[in-house]
Symmetry: C2
């Protein structure tokens, strides 16, 4: 049983990729929708939340944890490992490795939340910028049109000029990957952590069998969250969602 957690629903992009590559594995997902977003908060608070999320998944007796939240991966992977005696995979790490494999110039960029960008992780990255408004824009459904284009231009111009490879360090960005790519042009390669982590897990797992179970636990549930989940995952999970207080 694979445990996957995220600050909210963005981590469902990771579930989607894992499911695509591993159709039979069993998955438990935890989204901390009562306290999302993490990316604007302090490292101390993010680490406290990460500890609580980890303990919840361990209590569900998962065999492996994927930290689907880029912010937690950047700032609190050691916390997750401290409480776990099972394997722990952080979502950015595999993207980071991949980026330095594909870059020609060595100029790799990282775009993410403010907390991710301010963290001391991923030191070899040449250019790091937050793109804070992309998360609420995407959650409000602005995945195409003049609004998202205005902000892509704002946030990605520096990358366009300075890197040849860019890590999309936030779970939400795959939803506007086409738009980002359109703006950056073909000279910048985009690395999507959701895809990379799915490949890494597939390589790691000896037993990829299972009964395709999917259980979703959210710390807050409302209609809007269920709609957002559908947008990220590409399917309705209303009947598989449980509310938990951690």
């Amino acid at each position: 049983m694979i445990g996957i957690f995220d600050s909210g629903l963005g981590g469902l992009t990771v579930v989607k990729e894992v499911r695509r590559l591993l159709p039979s594995v069993d998955i438990i997902y935890l989204g901390d929708t009562a306290r999302v977003p993490y990316g604007t908060r302090s490292p101390q608070t993010i680490r406290k939340f990460a500890e609580e999320d980890t303990k919840f998944l361990l209590h569900q007796q998962v065999d492996l944890i994927i930290v689907a939240c880029n912010t937690v991966s950047s700032l609190a992977l050691d916390v997750v490992r401290k409480y776990s005696s099972i394997p722990v995979f952080g979502v950015i790490d595999s993207a980071y490795k991949k980026a330095f494999k594909v870059t020609k110039s060595g100029r790799v960029g990282l775009v993410g939340t403010r907390a991710t960008i301010n963290s001391s992780a991923y030191k070899d990255v040449k250019l790091r910028r937050h793109a804070s408004l992309l998360v609420p824009l995407i959650e409000e459904g602005f995945i195409k049109g003049p609004e998202i284009e205005l902000f892509i231009k704002k946030y990605f111009l520096d990358f366009k000029r300075n890197v040849d490879t860019l890590i999309l360090g936030c779970t939400h960005y795959p939803l506007i990957k086409d738009k980002i790519s359109e703006f950056l042009g073909s000279t910048v390669v985009l690395v999507d952590p959701a895809e990379e982590i799915a490949h890494e897990i597939k390589k790691y797992l000896k037993n990829t069998g299972g009964t395709s179970v999917e259980e979703y636990y959210l710390t807050d549930v409302n209609k809007q969250f269920l709609q957002t989940a559908k947008m990220f995952l590409g399917k309705d999970i209303s009947d598989k969602v449980n509310k938990t207080n951690l």
Copy 2:
């Protein structure tokens, strides 16, 4: 001692108005920055958070509570009152009264968070719309320029066509009041809950003396939050901020 609480830092616009009208009163402010925003969450979760916020302020022995959060005022004022034996004032209520006093056509509008708009409060309002992206835009400092203008046009066009009075039902909106007013034109009167509640408190209090104490408690503290606080309050409060876990 007046206790004021909000989901985050937006409630500082209420502190600012209260301080302007009552220069001597003592104020304790609680901002739940570890769990902001409330306006996207379910009523159940908002009510739970409101209970915890209230208990914290009561423990500080305040004499009166102002619920500076429009979302809590709309969805959980009864929760705050249930736990308090002291007077409780909700920030939208006085704005609501004022709006129906000034409207000529009876066509009053309410703009706020998704949770506020979906609540069953303020039934006589003719048009209610959320403007979800204004909060992150303002917090990211987009209080002027093409970005905020694009979204004001998007969110306020219906109001421009349909109401003569509009309640700014979110603490953040006063920061872009000029821009909203510019778009709506002189035929729509804006009612700012922060101003109205300050007037109401001034009228209510028999003893407006004090030693101008200000204490700020936040559930999460980082540099960005302190900058945002300065933007809302118009002054630096770094040396008056305490962290609390509630």
